[in-house]
């Protein structure tokens, strides 16, 4: 009914939405001046944005299979780019990335390169071909290209493992932000977060998730960029920080030399009672660590993140929603454009926030000052009370040294506006942005898992005769079950045991990258090869992870391949096994060969029908 019109009106609708959001920010700023408390502003920001997402989710409800799974394949290029960017940038990207650069400097920035460059693999190797294929889910491609339920099922297993590793961290982040903004306990915050997430996806599946993700992207990018530009202008660092912080980066190098980069001994840190997860700066900001091993560590992390990006199903499935193959390709480019807006800003935020703390010439500087004076600063008191920051006077001289100031990475994004003396309305905005980032990624991930289970396992394997109503009912029920499982695990606060977000990339690349790529690019790849590749890739990667991870077996890493990089092992094994087994088995039949020929050209019908 309003769909055709809706697509044509998108720029107008989202333009109005953006304008409305800016008006809301201004209203909040006025309310703050009029004496509204910080707490109320925080609640209003989060509640207002979540209600809008829920409204969009409700408006996008559907009973059509192709609308539910692939948004009716009608999402225009630029908007799909925005939705993918929101899908991609998680609570971790939004809240933790600047903090990672703050502590890790150049070394950490391998993540920036890895999490952006992967899109070139997506665009040139996969997205247009998967779009031409016309699949609903990633296992749908594997199952049809290689044939047989076993191949499909293996792909579902890899997808579920990778996405689930990722999703608990996202629900955890929504819980943290909801708890802080609404002043409720974390355990309750997790469930509030989950309900908000499900409101966006349950009624309309992919269609609803698409349109809420666009709305969430707009909120998160405003919330990220506004404070950076504000701080940079207020502090006189330059009106366009990205081009003008060269001097500040150089100044950080001087300050590092002046204060000295000391790595605290683990025993000292423990003895001083530093709360877990807090760190001090011990790595240089812009200096490249010397030696071939350091370069290899950088590059190997880039490999894992890039190849992992190209194997993560919640990203690949976004390109199933475009109207054409050409649009899928362009849409990848737009996705990276929108992602780059945030990623290129994170180092600038880290630079500004580091400088404002480290430079003794600035009024905000705390390093090199008297500890008693530092302890009387409002924000220092607030964050130390919440165990987000800590001071340990190791040398007992009463002066705060660089290695004596401990902080949690998240604080960089969450508190920089406050430290720089911006009005509270900005902190409220940042909370809404973090919530948007975490929710949008969680939605994409939960939907990817639920769709694979409902379409590939339930409909394709268990009950191929199920009618549309039943299929969508199962899909929605699974959405709730998976979300609840994620929230339950998040509320147990054991996410630190589940490991880093990076693991999701390693799991995905171990099992899926080569079966997907060779499925398009190598006609000789056979079912047996793909199945053997997926199983051995995932198994060897996981085994290596258990072998090196300090909390499991803790063996020394081989060639610097530690637990963040285990995908290199998994994907290599997967490639070798898949090629060898494929060559040992008879080549795929002529109908499969013809299917691959069809996938390689943009024109003509999709391989799988519009409704399947």
């Amino acid at each position: 009914m309003f769909k055709g019109k809706f697509i044509d009106n998108l720029p107008k609708i989202y333009g109005t939405y953006t304008g409305g959001f800016l008006v809301f920010i201004i209203l909040m700023a006025i309310a703050e001046q009029a004496g509204m408390t910080a707490k109320t502003i925080g609640i209003l920001f989060v509640a207002f944005t979540v209600c809008i997402y829920a409204f969009i989710g409700w408006m996008s409800r559907t009973v059509q299979v192709d609308a539910y799974y692939v948004a009716g394949r009608s999402v225009p290029t630029v908007f799909n780019g925005m939705a993918t960017a929101a899908d991609w940038m998680s609570g971790a990207s939004f809240v933790a990335m600047a903090g990672g650069i703050y502590f890790g400097g150049y070394t950490y920035m391998a993540f920036l390169i890895g999490w952006t460059g992967g899109y070139i693999l997506v665009s040139s190797l996969l997205a247009p071909y998967l779009r031409k294929f016309g699949c609903y889910t990633v296992p749908d491609f594997i199952g049809t290209r290689y044939g047989g339920n076993l191949a499909r099922f293996c792909a579902v297993v890899v997808l579920t493992l990778a996405s689930f590793t990722y999703v608990t961290a996202q629900i955890n982040a929504t819980g943290t932000i909801a708890a802080r903004a609404l002043s409720i306990p974390f355990e309750l915050g997790v469930w509030v977060g989950l309900v908000s997430i499900l409101l966006c996806s349950m009624l309309g599946g992919m269609r609803a998730v698409t349109w809420t993700q666009v709305a969430q992207y707009i909120v998160l990018i405003i919330a990220y960029l506004l404070p950076i530009f504000w701080i940079s202008n207020k502090g006189g660092y330059g009106f366009f920080p990205h081009l003008m912080l060269g001097e500040e980066v150089a100044r950080l190098g001087e300050l590092e030399a002046q204060f000295g980069l000391v790595k605290n001994a683990a025993a000292d840190v423990k003895a001083a009672g530093v709360p877990g997860g807090l760190k001090s700066i011990s790595l240089p900001h812009s200096e490249v660590p010397a030696g071939g091993m350091a370069a290899w560590k950088f590059i190997s992390l880039v490999i894992c993140m890039m190849v992992g990006t190209a194997s993560l199903p919640h990203i690949l499935m976004r390109y199933f929603t475009t109207p054409s193959v050409k649009a899928a390709r362009k849409s990848v480019a737009w996705s990276l454009f929108f992602i780059a807006l945030l990623y290129t800003s994170a180092p600038m935020l880290a630079t500004l926030s580091k400088l404002s703390l480290m430079d003794p010439n600035l009024s905000t500087g705390i390093i090199g000052k008297d500890i008693s004076a530092v302890m009387s600063i409002d924000w220092v008191q607030a964050w130390t009370a919440q165990k987000q920051a800590f001071i340990a006077d190791f040398n007992g001289d009463g002066i705060l040294q660089l290695n004596e100031w401990f902080m949690r990475g998240d604080v960089v994004v969450l508190s920089t506006p406050e430290i720089a003396g911006l009005p509270y309305v900005i902190s409220g905005l940042v909370a809404a942005g973090g919530m948007a980032a975490a929710m949008s990624t969680a939605d994409g991930l939960i939907l990817a898992i639920a769709n694979a289970l409902s379409h590939d396992v339930y409909y394709k394997i268990i009950d191929p005769k199920a009618d549309v109503r039943k299929r969508l009912l199962v899909a929605r029920a699974l959405l709730i079950v998976i979300g609840a499982a994620g929230a339950y695990i998040a509320s147990m606060r054991i996410t630190s045991i589940l490991g880093a977000v990076a693991w999701a990339f390693d799991f995905a690349m171990s099992g899926l990258f080569f079966p997907l790529v060779l499925g398009v690019w190598w006609k000789r790849a056979t079912r047996e090869g793909a199945i053997a590749g997926m199983i051995t890739g995932l198994a060897s990667g996981t085994a290596y992870l258990i072998y090196v991870y300090p909390k499991f077996m803790g063996n020394p890493a081989w060639l610097g391949i530690d637990h963040l990089r285990f995908g290199i092992i998994g994907a290599s094994v997967c490639l070798v096994v898949m090629v060898v087994v494929s060559l040992m088995t008879p080549e795929p039949d002529s109908s499969t060969q013809k299917m691959i020929d069809e996938v390689r050209i943009p024109t003509g019908k999709t391989i799988l029908g519009k409704q399947h």
């Binding site: 460059g117 665009s123 990848v332 390689r600």
Partner: protein, 86 residues
């Protein structure tokens, strides 16, 4: 059929060229990060700059450039999609 083969050859060529550029901006330059950092751009040490912005901007440009190039290849071989434009 030969048209299809020609199209696939050209598509492969575009893919390899794209990945070569990707490899340069994603890997090669960071193999020399240490020496690169003694040069500077906009006042930033060069390797730091490439990490923070340079390579990311290069990736975006490569993606648009490569997509346009592929569209031309599709057009040339008569496989360009009609009607369902964005």
């Amino acid at each position: 059929m030969s048209n299809k083969e020609k199209h696939w050859e050209k598509t492969k060529g575009n893919m390899l060229l794209t990945l070569a550029l990707w490899f340069f901006f994603g890997y090669i330059i960071f193999m020399f990060g240490e020496s690169l950092n003694s040069a500077s751009f906009l006042g930033y040490p060069l390797a730091y700059y490439m990490c923070a912005q340079g390579s990311i901007i290069a990736f975006v440009i490569i993606l648009f450039w490569s997509a346009n190039r592929q569209e031309k290849i599709d057009e040339e071989c008569g496989f360009a999609e009609r009607g369902e434009d964005d």
